[in-house]
């Protein structure tokens, strides 16, 4: 079965935003075993949108359109799709009620008139509820083809695809596709690829695909089979082999578990309380930990100590250490991590200090130099990194490496030998 993606939005044509939806949808469709030969981007223009959709419907079985479902007059995707499919737009009472309920709970109590247009759907379309916005997802089935409409904002599109569209697409196919994810941190993509080159070459069912994320590598093991049970049987020995080859580099084999969730799981398992002490990341590490619901059991407080004075006052870093070695040094990060534990009576503290740029670098410590320390079990481990990229990239890598150092430290100190 062949799928085609059409992303709608002048902001994409103007390069105002990067098309992350296309990458997400492409990866998800590949994981579902759909072939994808074309992606297009077209603006909020009825004529060109119509032409693009017609072409896509001629050459593909499923067309996924995303974007252009908003309430403003330049949002035309639904209107164009209804016209191409020869269907009138009719008000859907359920969607109208969903919109009312959405506004009822939001900070904007008055529903602007133009939002009601979002309650109209092409006659007979399957409606997929949007729990994070007002535009519903829509599936139109016409002449043996499926046209799927999704809202553009990723926080609306992603859950809607996973919960509503993926199961629908799986039902369309004769063989089911089942995949498992193996997630690694602390190892580079090329090293991962080299370690499993023989497996990738040999495997045809299941297949192994590698995806590089910031500081992480994900391996998707995908099997085609007549049912889930058979697919699981095919996948099991491959995942086992990957676990043997990569050991503790693997932080999770759960599809949706993030690195921070894996870390919080370990903290809870070993009943360890955590604090954070951040300089260049300025709260991003704590912010990622607090992504995890229920983190409050193990994470009560954290410090952002951006200045030397704050490091001294809040974390008791000594004046002489700061003077002798500088704020970005193994010694300072050691004292930050220790100070965090003592200031809060926690079991573990992760501390970060680095030069995120664009200024502040020098020959000895160029921009990208980051020290990460972890105080656990009365010892501090410090790792030194040199990250490439801009300020945002350096800070993102720092957070991932801090989470991974924490994870490895917990396993080394408390995990089964």
């Amino acid at each position: 079965m062949v799928v085609e993606l059409v992303c709608v939005g002048t902001e994409l044509l103007l390069g105002n935003i990067v098309n992350t939806n296309a990458a997400f949808l492409a990866e998800q469709c590949a994981a579902l075993g759909l072939s994808c030969y074309y992606q297009s981007v077209v603006g909020d223009n009825e004529e060109r949108l119509t032409a693009t959709l017609k072409t896509a419907m001629e050459r593909s079985d499923v067309v996924i359109l995303c974007g252009g479902l908003g309430p403003t007059p330049d949002d035309l995707t639904k209107e164009a799709a209804a016209k191409v499919c020869g269907l009138p737009l009719v008000e859907d009472a359920h969607t109208r009620a969903m919109i009312e309920a959405y506004f009822e709970k939001s900070q904007w109590k008055v529903i602007p008139d133009n939002n009601w247009k979002q309650a109209e759907v092409p006659q007979g379309a399957i409606v997929i509820d949007n729990h994070n916005g007002t535009a519903p997802g829509l599936i139109i089935e016409v002449n043996g083809k499926s046209v799927i409409l999704l809202p553009g904002p990723p926080n609306e599109l992603i859950p809607m695809f996973k919960n509503g569209i993926a199961p629908y697409l799986n039902r369309l196919q004769p063989e089911i596709i089942y995949s498992r994810m193996v997630k690694l941190a602390g190892i580079g993509e090329s090293q991962v690829a080299a370690e499993i080159d023989d497996m990738i070459q040999k495997q045809t069912n299941p297949t192994i695909a590698t995806y590089a994320k910031t500081g992480e590598v994900h391996l998707r093991v995908t099997a085609k089979a007549k049912d889930e049970e058979e697919a699981k049987k095919l996948i099991k020995p491959v995942v086992k082999e990957l676990k043997e080859r990569f050991g503790n580099y693997i932080y999770s084999v759960k599809e949706d578990e993030t690195l921070e969730e894996a870390v919080v799981r370990l903290l809870k398992k070993y009943n360890l309380s955590l604090t954070t002490a951040e300089s260049c990341t300025g709260g991003l590490l704590a912010g990622r930990l607090v992504n995890v619901p229920g983190v409050s059991e193990v994470f009560k407080q954290g410090f952002i100590t951006y200045s030397d004075k704050a490091k001294r006052k809040l974390l008791d870093v000594s004046k002489s250490t700061l003077k002798k070695y500088g704020a970005v040094s193994e010694e300072t990060v050691k004292e930050m991590a220790k100070g965090g534990v003592f200031a809060t009576d926690s079991d573990v503290c992760v501390a970060i200090s680095g030069i995120a740029g664009p200024d502040g670098g020098n020959e000895e410590k160029p921009v990208g130099t980051v020290y990460i320390g972890c105080y656990i079990n009365d010892k501090v481990t410090v790792e030194q990194y040199l990250f490439k990229g801009n300020r945002a990239k350096i800070r993102d890598y720092s957070v991932v490496c801090a989470l991974d150092l924490l994870r490895r430290s917990i396993l080394e100190n408390y995990g089964e030998k």
Copy 2:
């Protein structure tokens, strides 16, 4: 003049990588005044590549292809383009010498045989040197159209476009495009759209486009004119009108200025030091402020006080307030903001406490209830919000609204009346 982008690569179709080249090229082309109505992605497949290129050449004046210029047999872009344009491939002595020089300087001294294929160019094509790789950029002029071929790796494509392609494209056209951005916070997209519906309907040059971001709305005012001066003249009254209609909802009229940059600009302007006291956002507010290089002038430290105990210990929130009103309350946030200022001797403190979910809500205070306080000029203002969405969304909105409350508070206390 109309440009069209065709990105070539199976890794894009599989979602292995995000198409940042398309965003870069689109933004560059828009800035050069080229209209772009279509972008496509196609795999390394001759038939589909040929079909896509033919369609693009029918409807656009300039087609930019990127990717598929490598030395391996599955790199087909140049071969397909030469065939569509009816040109033979001939060896280019200059490019051959460039490839030799490139390998001479690299760590691989031996040139693999298949790299010589990169020295072949469609007869008569303009060659743009690649200083960061071996595949040259190529411009083919045929029947009044230009077909431009660029290598896929961004570190090769970006400098090649800026130095070789942009000057070429600039020479091709009579009119330029110029745009200004007007950025708003604290107001929803539908309300913005309703307030300027008359302007959007009426305006054809300049046009006004709305973009919704989390907690923000961006308006892009775009004019076409014979030169930049004339375009600016067309845009000026429209931006003035937008300023009159939206007043302090506008946080910036600078293309690249983010909300956090606007806030830091105001803090610096009025010489105000800031601290943060975060509960449910857990460091994200501080993390966003630290996005801004040079923020250390005004932001030295911040607190993550996720537990009641941390609120008491670090911010001196009284036990009785926590007991009587709870951690998520106007009273607690007031004391957090005040406590942050007193603990750090700062001028301003922004405090956030809320229920980000999925658990912790009740009838009186459902998930999404967030209190944001700003202590400034010896007073605390607290705003209460009820955000919709998942945990991540509620926290993102909280951060944007906190930044916006801070911004408005500074303007109210220190701005010109």
